[in-house]
Assembly symmetry: C2
Homo-oligomer: 138 residues x 2
């Protein structure tokens, strides 16, 4: 964990929600979607195959938690999960609640036009809801 520092662009584009055992959970600042980032707190990590075996298992468990939480909260038709990293190499996993008929459905959310920032009050409400669903004991 030593030396981990969140990438500046990821930090600018999203808001902290909570910390799981391996990953920081962040909410993308785009109110068109309920869109999380899971960022493993491991310095220098970029590719899935660079994860230690136990971290790979833990990441998958945390993706499951995030996916289930978004399904519960939003009633999404489909959850999209992706580790892309062509723009920002620090490993980050997108977990996005999708609804049939949303702005880019059935296309993907990446490079899909300008984000619409959350309004302050709504942002606090959604962060709280996700945090309670993901890490109820914290």
């Amino acid at each position: 964990m030593t030396g981990f520092q969140l990438n500046e662009r990821l930090e600018a584009d999203s808001h902290a929600v909570c910390a799981l055992e391996l990953c920081d959970v962040r909410l993308m600042n785009d109110n068109r979607y309920c869109w999380l980032l899971l960022v493993p707190r491991r310095a220098g990590l970029s590719e899935w195959h660079e994860l230690a075996a136990e971290d790979a298992a833990q990441l998958s468990a945390e993706i499951s938690r995030a996916s289930g939480a978004l399904k519960t909260i939003t009633g999404a038709d489909k959850i999209n999960v992706a580790a892309i990293g062509n723009m920002v190499r620090q490993m980050h996993v997108h977990v996005v609640a999708r609804h049939e008929g949303d702005e880019t459905w059935p296309g993907t959310v990446w490079n899909s036009g300008a984000a619409i920032p959350h309004e302050a009050e709504a942002l606090q409400a959604v962060r709280k809801k996700i945090s309670q669903e993901l890490a109820p004991g914290v």
Copy 2:
């Protein structure tokens, strides 16, 4: 495992490569990218959070293997990993070798125009290479 049957569209768009413990590995029929699909042999599975805990861990291990194999074979600049499923709900994980300057770089490969099918000889060679790298004992 009972009742698992590969979705018709996934079958039509890709070629079998090998079987890992959980997933069938398939090569997308698009020679613009070295692009694998991992399809867990579980009937009715659509979302990451529907995976049993041990399957989630195994899927992550198999993604790591596929990602590392593509890196070794292609020298890719970045491996993209994604479970989207907006078009085909049967769970399938894309693992794609990306190179700076490839046709859609730094964008994603989904909805990126018409696939260019592999030629028969090249197809056999790449399937064999991936199979040997992923499942050397088989």
